[in-house]
Amino acid sequence: MSISSDTITGSPGETLVGDDYFTYVEGVGPIPRDIFKYVKSDPFGDLPRYSVHIVIQHFLIFVTFLVLSATGLPLYFSDLAWAKYMVSLFGGVDLARLIHKIAAFTMMFASAYHIITIVGGTLRQILKREFDYRRTVIPRLKDLTDLFHDLKYFLGFEPYRPKMEKFMYKQKAHYLAILWGSFVLTAAGSALLFPDTMAKLFPDTMTQLLPSGVVDKGSFPAFFQNLARLMHADEAVMALIVIAFWHWLNVHFVPGRFPLQWAFLTGRITREHQIEEHFLEYLRNLQEIPEEREYMKRLLREKGFDKSHFVSIADLSRVH
C-alpha cells in the first residue's frame, strides 16, 4: 500500500493523510473511497453547500432567465408561427419588451449582489486568514487531471472517481461560462437598449484599433452595434440550449439526482453526493461538523472499517 502525497491542511496542528482507497482522518478513522455507497442521505441535503445569499441569487437568476428567454426568443424568431402566441402571453410585444428589460435589470441586480457576496466573503476569509483558493471556482491544473481521471473512471479504467474539491471541473467551467455569457449578454443588451448612449461612449479613436477595411462605414459604434445584434441573440440561444440540455439534465436527471436535487432551494448537498464528487470538501465537513464526525465514526465501526489498515502520522517518516 502506498501513501498518497495528497495531504490536506485543515486547522493548524491537524494533518489528514489519504491513500488511494483509505483516507485516514484524525478522530474518525480510515475512510474508504467508496463509503458513499453505504451512507444514508436526506434528499433535502445533509451538508452545507450554499449560503442563503447564493440560494437567493440563483433563484433570481433562474426566474429572470426563464422570463428573458420567453420574452426574447419570440422577438428573435418573430417570423415563426409560435412567436405571436408567445408575446400575446405577455400582453403584446411592447409589454413583452418592457418585461424583458425589467427582467434584465433584475438579473443584473442579482449578478451585482452575487459579486458583492463573493468579493465580500473572500475579503472576510482573507482577513480571518481562512481563505483557501482550492475551495473556490478558480481553475487549477488539478481540474484538468481530474477530468482525465474521471473519463478513465467512466470508461472503466480507474476504480474510483478523483478526490475533488467543493467545485469540480465541470462546475468551474459552467460558472466561468456563465460569467462570460452574462457579461456579453449584459453588454450587448445594453447596446441594443441604449444604442445612442452607447455611440457616445465609444470615441471615434476606437475605430483605429480595428484593422482597416473591416468595419462597416468606418465607425466603431456602428461595428459594435452590429456585433451586439449578433452576440445578444446567439449567446442567448446558446445559454438556453446549454441550460435546457445540459444544466437541468445534469443536475436533476442523472442517476442519484433524479427527480430533483434540492440543493438550489435548501443550499444543502446530500452526503453521498458530497463524498462521491467532492471528497476533499467532505473531509473538511468532517473537521468542521462534530455530528458528521460522530456519524462517520459510527458508520465505520458498523461496517468494520475502523480496524483496518491506516497510516498514522508517525508512520509517515518510515515510509518515506
Partner: protein, 282 residues
C-alpha cells in the same frame, strides 16, 4: 444517531418540480428539432424530404387571380365590403357557367341587372311561363325551408336612411309553379347530375354538341328576362307587401325612385335602351 437523515425519500413535490424542468427541456428540444429540420432559420435538414412528399404547387393562374383581386382593391378606393356567399355546392346550378355577374352584353344596364342577383335567382326573371301553372314568388333559402326574414333590402334604417342590415343574407326571391294547392320549385338546384357531368366533360364536346346540351339546361329558361316594369310597378307581379317589404321601400321600388328613373331615361335619353341588347343591333 447523530447526522442520520430525517427524511430518506423524495417528497411528491420533487417529482412535480422535476416534471416542470422536464417539460421545459422538452419544449426547447422540440424547438431545436424544428430549427434543425424545417425552420428556414436553420439548416433545413428535412427540406429535400418535404419537397419530395409535399411539393409546393405554384399556380400562375391562381397567382394572377390573386393579383387581380388585390389590384381591384386598390383600383376601387371605396371599401369593398365582403358579402357572405353560399358555398359553391349550395348555389343554384346557373352559377357554374354564368357566375354572380351574368349580364355582360347591354353596357348601359349590365351592372344594374347584375345587382339583382343578390335578390333573385336567375329564374325569377328568366323562367318560361307554363300554361297549366301560375307562377308565384317566394323567398327561398337553401338552409331554411321556411325563411321568415327580415330579408335584405326590404326596409330602411330610419336613423341613417341606409338599407337595414339583416342576418339572413342567403334568401332570394324564387319563382314557384302553383298547380292547384301544390307549390313546385321552378329552379334547378346544383345536385342536378346533368350539370355536374356537363362541367366535367364540356371541353371534350364540339361547339355543336355543347349547344345541344345547353338547350337541355335552358328548356324552361327564356333568354331575355322579364321587363323591369313587370315588377317595378304599382300592380306588378311581385306582391312586395306580402314578401315583407316596408311601405316606404315599396314606394321607392314601384314609384318615384326606380321606376321614375327608368321611365325618364326611356323617354328622354335612350328610347331603345331596353328594347334589344346592344350586340344584336345592326
Amino acid at each position: 444517531m447523530p447526522g442520520e437523515p430525517k427524511k430518506q425519500n423524495h417528497p411528491i413535490a420533487a417529482f412535480l418540480i422535476g416534471f416542470i424542468f422536464a417539460v421545459l427541456t422538452l419544449v426547447v428540444f422540440a424547438g431545436v428539432i424544428h430549427h434543425l429540420t424545417i425552420s428556414h432559420h436553420g439548416p433545413q435538414l428535412l427540406k429535400p424530404l418535404k419537397d419530395k412528399f409535399f411539393p409546393e404547387h405554384k399556380s400562375p393562374i391562381l397567382e394572377e387571380a390573386k393579383r387581380l383581386e388585390e389590384f381591384e382593391i386598390h383600383r376601387h378606393f371605396h371599401h369593398i365590403v365582403e358579402y357572405p356567399q353560399l358555398p359553391e355546392s349550395e348555389r343554384p346550378v346557373c352559377f357554374i357557367c354564368h357566375s354572380d355577374f351574368p349580364h355582360t352584353k347591354n353596357k348601359k344596364v349590365r351592372s344594374l341587372l347584375n345587382m339583382h342577383t343578390q335578390y333573385f335567382v336567375c329564374e325569377a326573371c328568366h323562367i318560361k311561363e307554363q300554361t297549366d301553372a301560375r307562377i308565384v314568388y317566394k323567398w327561398y333559402n337553401p338552409y331554411d325551408d321556411n325563411p321568415q326574414g327580415p330579408f335584405i333590402g326590404t326596409s330602411y334604417d330610419p336613423e341613417t336612411g341606409n338599407l337595414v342590415d339583416v342576418a339572413d343574407k342567403f334568401s332570394k326571391l324564387t319563382p314557384f309553379f302553383q298547380k292547384g294547392d301544390e307549390l313546385e320549385s321552378a329552379i334547378q338546384k346544383q345536385d342536378a347530375p346533368l350539370a355536374r357531368d356537363y362541367v366535367k366533360i364540356r371541353d371534350k364536346l364540339t361547339p355543336e354538341q355543347r349547344d345541344g346540351v345547353k338547350n337541355k339546361f335552358h328548356v324552361s329558361i327564356k333568354e331575355k328576362g322579364d321587363d323591369c316594369k313587370l315588377c317595378h310597378a304599382e300592380k306588378g307581379i311581385l306582391d312586395f307587401k306580402k314578401l315583407g317589404f316596408a311601405d316606404n321601400r315599396i314606394e321607392d321600388l314601384v314609384q318615384l325612385n326606380v321606376k321614375g328613373m327608368l321611365t325618364k331615361y326611356e323617354v328622354f335619353y335612350l328610347p331603345d335602351l331596353f328594347l334589344a341588347p346592344e350586340s344584336e343591333k345592326p
